[in-house]
Amino acid sequence: MKILVCISHVPDTTSKINFTEEDTKFDTNGVQFVINPNDEFGLTRAMWFKEKQGASVDVVNVGGPETEPTLRKSLAIGADNAIRVNANPTDGFYVAKQLAKVVQDGGYDLVIAGRESIDYNGGMVPGMLAALIDANFVNTCIGLEIEGETVTAIREIDGGKETSKTSLPLVIGGQKGLVEESDLRIPNMRGIMMARKKPLNVVEPVEASEETKAQKFEKPVPKGEVTLIPADDVGKLVDLLHNEAKAI
């Protein structure tokens, strides 16, 4: 089985978010970049398939050279090859079209992407990719088993979960639950040394138009002071929630 894991290069979850160039660009100054957490769950699940059932695992990112450390980290975790599509992604549809070309060229059976990246939260790339390459698709995937031709996938739904049967080729939008948090891997020294020797192929993008564009960013209005209520006067909270906040 050939697996491709899509890796987004995103600001660490603790990052302060700021913008530059009159609020039109994300300010990367001082920001630590990491593998998108939803993708990291997917990469770990791909490693499980590789080790338990036999599979090759490639990783791909659409981005400039600055994303290569993130791809190298994926190689250190255990991916076999990395591909970087040399383009500055601005739009989910554009990214999906680039990934579709990589999947078609590589003949992958299973593509694992995160359900969304934690920066732009578009949540559209996995589904668009599946539609573009005419593969089956399961979003918000929290469980995946593959036995021969049969795929069993579990997805999170509002208020519960749902189990489906399907077949390869398949794209999933994965998330926490696909593997446990405790199963996530930290690259060890051997992995890091080996990653240096693994191939990182740079391919040029296919032509694709941009369908959406972030014109400007805004930050939420800062909150006012908290109203503290004495612990022995809980009734006052109920009163404020009703009369002031109109929340109950």
């Binding site: 979850t13 603790t14 978010i17 957490p37 939803n38 739009d91 934690i118 920066d119 939260n121 949540g123 559209m124 790339v125 996995p126 589904g127 668009m128 539609a131 089956n136 698709f137 979003n139 918000t140 929290i142 997805r155 999170e156 739904i157 509002d158 208020g159 519960g160 979960k161 749902e162 189990t163 489906s164 049967k165 399907t166 926490k176 639950g177 948090e181 941009e210 369908e211 959406t212 972030a214 014109q215 400007k216 960013f217 805004e218 939420p220 909150k223 006012g224 908290v226 109203t227 503290l228 209520i229 612990a231 809980v234 009734g235 909270l237 109920v238 929630l241 906040a245 929340a247 109950i248």
Partner: protein
Amino acid sequence: MSVLVYTENEEGKFKKAAFEVASYAKEIANMLGTSVTAVTFNATDSAELGTYGVDKVLEVKDDKLTTFTAKAYADAIGQAAKKEGASVVVVSSSADSKFLAPMLAVHLDAGYVSNVVALPESSTPFVVKRTAFTNKAFSLTEISTECKILGLSNNAFGLKESEDAATVESFTPELTDADFAVSVTSVDKATDQVSIADAEVVVSGGRGLKGPENWGMIEDLASVLGAATACSKPVSDMGWRPHGEHVGQTGKPVASNLYIAVGISGAIQHLAGINASKTKVVINNDPEAPFFKAADYGIVGDAFEVVPQLIEKLKEFKANNA
């Protein structure tokens, strides 16, 4: 040209989000000088959508579509959009809508923007405001395609009733076996609980609850408020509560009208997940907990003493305001 909405139902009954997307679509239709058409799948009373501004309903009745099947639904909505010449398609932010919308976007060659929180800033160019960086920022996003798909955030717009009536028309989409290549074999859903996505009120617990055996208090508080229950990341990591209840940057975002956090200190990742909620209440015994800086109302105190009192006071309030 029209505005098309996908209106979700559960066992035939429309979800609140269906009325919200309909209300929102009506405002856009007014902006564009056009009408609203809804697509329903096996809904019991499609005409009910007229109350929220829908002019016409394309009603699909098909036993094969009783269970949500993303590709089949996306193809059916796509065919409806083409039939109606839709320039804008509005869906909700439910798990199902987020599942089908990207496939629909490819079907219609449409730009798709999710997590939309307001009416378009302008129609030419078409610019909408959406959340980004897990609610740490907003992005004003332009959609340049002829057809546009908007995913409306839950509770972002509210409901607006209308005096008009909707006409109902039968619609039979052309579906193939390929539309059902992912087939649902079982659904495991707590039917007596409010889901986080639909909830107007969310009650959430953290490590301060000390153990899963103490969750009855959170459930009781949620019950009196008709709220969904949720939790912080450490709580789901320790297995006290299911992953589906984890709220935060790598869990679920919450955009409720009221969010009550009990025993949650307020890590930056958790705060990002709840930023879009309108009123935030924090109950914590640590006055230095960062959550107090993000909250509207706070009580510094022992949750095991404060929460039972709060439940009693809310019951009294409900009894007096019934």
